[in-house]
């Protein structure tokens, strides 16, 4: 993405204090996992939080980097398992997803938006031009007298014509449907994969809503 403001410094570029060697070694022995959100409502990310105390049993095996449980903005190193919430609705989503794919061994689509587009994909049955007109030109909530423009700038991600599921952009290894899937489902999948079992979502746990 091009940044017109060349003076901007991103948080991950800031200097950091080196980690205690003992903690660093302990962390490196664990399986790194992460979860990112694209075009979604962050409900699935909340389900990740909903693993609650059950995550404690896995903490000696996994190291959670970027996720809703931490405040890490970017994954610091390659992850074994990456969860992705949300679909693809703009150029930034594509960029973020491609970078995440390159840095994850296993990538999992989490939730309806990631799996097939979900609620954002409801705009797919309306031409993009009409969507923009409704949102910015003919919007019933527009400020009166304000200049009616469709925002466009180098720093604003370009909206895709259609909202796409993740597997139409990169290879996805597993899918967890649900809107959102329960914390139970996420802990089940994580526990299975961390302990070397196959991904398995039984009929009783599969939900589309």
């Amino acid at each position: 993405m091009s940044h017109t403001n060349k003076n901007k410094i991103l948080s991950h570029e800031l200097p950091t204090t080196p980690l205690d060697p003992e903690i660093k070694a302990a962390r490196e022995a664990k399986i790194p996992i992460a979860m990112i959100g694209l075009c979604g409502c962050w409900g699935c990310t909340l389900s990740f939080l909903d693993m609650d105390e059950r995550i404690l049993g896995l903490l000696d095996k996994v190291n959670i980097t970027r996720s809703s449980l931490t405040d890490v903005k970017r994954i610091p190193y390659r992850c074994a398992i990456g969860f992705v919430e949300g679909g693809i609705a703009n150029s930034e989503n594509i960029e973020t997803l491609e970078e995440f794919r390159e840095n994850c061994d296993i990538l999992i689509s989490v939730g309806a938006c990631a799996v097939w587009g979900g609620v954002p994909a409801m705009r797919n049955v309306v031409p993009l031009e009409e969507c923009f007109k409704e949102a910015y030109i003919d919007s019933p909530t527009a400020v009166e007298g304000a200049k009616k423009i469709i925002p466009f700038h180098d720093d604003i991600p370009v909206i895709t014509t259609k909202v796409m599921p993740l597997h139409e952009v990169v290879k996805i290894d597993y899918f967890i449907p649900g809107c959102p899937p329960d914390g139970d489902v996420i802990i089940k999948v994580l526990d299975d994969l961390v302990n070397g079992r196959e991904f398995d979502l039984p009929t009783s746990m599969n939900r589309y809503d």
Partner: protein, 235 residues
Amino acid sequence: MSVKITIDGQQINARTGDNIIDVAAKNGVYIPSLCYVKGKPCLGTCRICSVKVDGRVMAACTIPVSEGMEIEVNDDAEIVDMRKALVELLFSEGNHNCPSCEKSGRCELQATGYEVGMMVSRFPYRFTPHVVDHASKTIFLQRDRCIFCQRCVDMVRDERTGKKIFSIKGRGTNSRIEIDAELANEMTPQQVRQASDLCPVGCIIDKTQGYDDPIGKRKFEVKSIKERALDKEHR
């Protein structure tokens, strides 16, 4: 008269004239279907009940059992995957937005998706626009969700004249489900509810019915579609 057949290698005595789907259910083998209603003439439209009969793929609801038939339902990986693919096709062809659908939890397509183990459709989601029909006083037609099973076309009729209330207009990709609003307005509230319940998806929506049951207590959450198909009480 009885005939001897096998389902997944299991020897079964079945009554002549019964179709494969009923015989299988009676013997504890679930075959998913979206158009077949027990006791009604088969429609054979959805093909979800496809099984292998003596090695050939056939819709189980359309075939009466006959002596010596060898039927494969779950033993053959190819046919299991074919049924799953048929369900996936329906999900990618229509706009099946479960999170926003009134029928969610009572939807046979959704419940069947769970039974065949669908997580995602292998086919590209098409997002074709469809026009909602709300001309009738009591029924919404959410055409996004219609799977053209034709249950409503065949089984819902005007009580006075016997005329069909629902019909399919157009051909190929232009096909759409239509409702005769005048006849629909004559329907009793019970008949409207029956038509809505008969619809295996959320296409025929009773305007008086909303998200009535809380999540966890909805029809197929209380008892799965498979359990219902195999249980005599719910058939």
